[in-house]
Structure formats: C-alpha cells, structure tokens
Symmetry: C2
Amino acid sequence: MTVMVTALNGLRQMISSGELRPGQRFPPEADLCARLDVSRSSLREAVRVLDTLGVIEVRHGSGTYVSRLDPADVIRGFSLTVDLLPLDGLLQLFEIRRVLEGNAAAQAAARAPEELIDRLSALCDEMEASDDVAAMSALDDEFHEAICVAAGNPTVTSLIGVFRSRGRHYKIFDSDPSAPVKRTSDEGHRAIVEAIARRDPAAATAAAASHVARTEFWLSTLQPAPDN
Amino acid sequence: MTVMVTALNGLRQMISSGELRPGQRFPPEADLCARLDVSRSSLREAVRVLDTLGVIEVRHGSGTYVSRLDPADVIRGFSLTVDLLPLDGLLQLFEIRRVLEGNAAAQAAARAPEELIDRLSALCDEMEASDDVAAMSALDDEFHEAICVAAGNPTVTSLIGVFRSRGRHYKIFDSDPSAPVKRTSDEGHRAIVEAIARRDPAAATAAAASHVARTEFWLSTLQPAPDN
DNA sequence: GATATCGAGTCATCAGATGAGTTGGCTGCG
DNA sequence: CGCAGCCAACTCATCTGATGACTCGATATC
C-alpha cells in the first residue's frame, strides 16, 4: 500500500469514526503529517483527493474542513469521472437513467404543483418552437431537471444530473431541426407532461422511461467521437 | 483556479479529447509538467486524484496509463466518498436502491437461469438457519449480488454495490437472532425468490422494493453512530 | 466605537535530491 | 542459436526545505 493511501485512509477514518463532524476543522498539515507519519507531499495528495471529491474543503490561509457531507454534493463529484466514460460504456448507464427518471416522473405526477406543470408545458412550447441546437439542449436540461426537483429527492436529482451531463457532450440533434429525432423528442416531452398533468404516475413512468430509451437508441447509432 | 485543477483538467482533456485511448500511456511526469506548465507536485496531485478514482493507472517504474474506463470499475470508485456519508444522508440514497434493486429483481425474474433460482433459494435456507450476525450479513450480500448479476448489467450491479456497501457499516440485526427484524428480512428474501421463480417481474419488483424499504425503515430508527 | 494595520497561522507551489520498481537490451554460457 | 542472468536507463515514490499568498483576529489609531 502506498504512503498516500495510508494518508487517505487516515483522513477518511477521522471522518468515519466521528472524530471530525461535518464543518469541523482538521489539524494543520504539519500535525497531520506527524500523526499519520507521512510526509507533507503524501498528505497533500490525499487531501487533494478528498477535496476534489467534495468530502473535505481546503480553505487557503484558514485550514482544512470536513464538508457538509450532503449526499447531493458528494454525488455531483462523480461527474469528474463519469464525464470521461467512452460512448460504449456510457450506454450501460442508460438503464439507470431509464429507471431513475421513470421513477422521478411518477413522483412528479403525484406531487408536482400546478405551477410546475404549467412551466413544463411552456418549456415544451419553447422547445417545439426552437430550432437552435444549443438553446434546445438547454431547455431540455431545464425540463428534465424540473421534473427531478419536483420528485423531491435532491440526491436522486443530483445522480440523474451526473448521468445526464455525460450525454450532453454528444449532439444527438443534427443540424436539421425538422429531423425526425427532434419531432420524436418533442412528442416524448409532451407525453410526459400530459401524464404528469393527469396525475397518472404509471403513465408518467412509462413516458419518461420510453423517452430515455429513445435517447439511448439514438446515441447507440452514433459512433463518431465526442468533441471536447 | 488552483494550479492543481489546471493539471487535472489538462489530464482529463487528454482523455476526453481522444488523444489518449484506454490502455495508452501518458508521457513521463517531466514532459507533462512542461506541457501543462505546472510543477511536479501539482501534477502528481492531479494524477493521484484520477488514479484513486480509477480513471488512470499509475504503474511504479513503468508509467501512467489510461485505465480501461469500464463503467463498473469507475463507479466502484464512488464508494470512496459514499462510505463517508452520515446516516441521515445515507437514507436519501435508499430511494435509489429501492428503484434500482426493484428493477434488477424484475430483470432477474425474466432472465435468471434455473441454477440461480436454486442458489437463491439455498441462500435463503442458510440465512434462515444462521444465527451469526457476520455470516448472515455475508449471505445477504451474496443474495443481493446474485440477483444483480442475473439482471445482466454490470454497471448497475456496481452502482447498487456501492450504495449497499455503505449500509453494511451499520448493524441492523441486533444480537438476538430471533428478533422480528431477522424474521421479516428472511421473509422478504423468500418473497423475492418466489417471485423470480414464478417468472413474475412485477411481483419481483414489488418484493425487492419492499425489502429495501423495510431496511430503510430499520436504519431510520437507528440513531447510534457507526463503529469504524 | 469604528477603522486601519499588522502579524501569526495556514495552505499553495515550486525545486531538488534520493529511493525503488520495471523494462528491455546486452552478455556470456550451454 | 537459444536462453538465463545481469545491468543500465527510464519512470514513478517520497521526502525535505524554501518561498509566496491568503485569512483572520489582535492591536493600534483616530
């Protein structure tokens, strides 16, 4: 086991053991080095890992703190790696999205306030009227995000967000806005809204899952590499 | 933006841009430092982050390589942070488990070979006969893992595994093996197996989701801190 | 009492040195 | 020629020391 892993586990245990609660400050680097018996370089590497992942928070000039450990925040850190998955691996994530977004749509159907339904409907109008790829993509995000938020579990919203964001790097809408892809996508969104408006969770689940499945299919027909 | 983040993004872009494909080797540290215009310390911090997360692989004496970028592997890295979530945050993850394990059970009901059903049934027998907490926990893991594997999506299996592992640190079975918790758990497992054996996906989903929900409830009544 | 300044404490970053593992080629023997 | 063993170059691992930058509370000043 490398020295850095020793340091990493040491830091993690200080949190998991309850020695340091969310928001509390770690001892200074020098003290930690002595305690864990590692050099500053190794300690800092471990600290960076946990900092990058959102588990701890390093404040320059002030100290190192345990983060709030909010699940939604921690999960957001996953995108650091998920964003690097190649297309073929990405497709395996779609089963998760299908199930999770289906569930979120059902919750939204049960809980969404009337204002949200109006908002979703308005977003559909905008998407249908739009022919700018970037704008449509942004609206699409907002649409799905709103449904997740209405579902009421920020952690689930965060996880779906991570998986959705990876897909954004691929452009499934080609330049022709009249393409069947866009039309089908618009219809999918409309079906989800209608199910939610009818307060029909089962229908909302089916509509959302089906929508994700179609996206999955389009992506699977796309072999060109991503851009960034 | 810190220098380390510069390095991190530089490395990530080398992968996401397709410059380096899975399995390929990065230039030596010195070259990377020059290219990204960062010091060796900062570069190494960035490398460690990606290495710890399973995106790249550092082989002492040989070089640094892009990993296979298998989604299941990458997702396994999530446990590094998920294992640190406090109990209250952990409960938010149960909605995900409920939905995902319900789906996996449905898939298993549709696809599981006869041998697996026998195996699940045997595991139930063992669990019911066992009164050792540690052994029961291991059997429980094996039971749920087997269902996920049968469902056929390693990525989903990996994700469920990450979320399940976090729960393992809490002991919901108290020392009394005749406690209602154990009996209810045993019945839950049996119900899942029976639904899978009947090739009834909907029933399997309900049984699995209900089983997870019960675990969630038990955990929610448990406020004492974890041990490790 | 409000504000400006200062200094101790802390992290950020770099450079250099030494140690350790891997790999491929070279050598010499059979 | 084939192979085993050795060796040197290359690469990462880790530590140390130095300097810079930021934060924040204490102190001095008005």
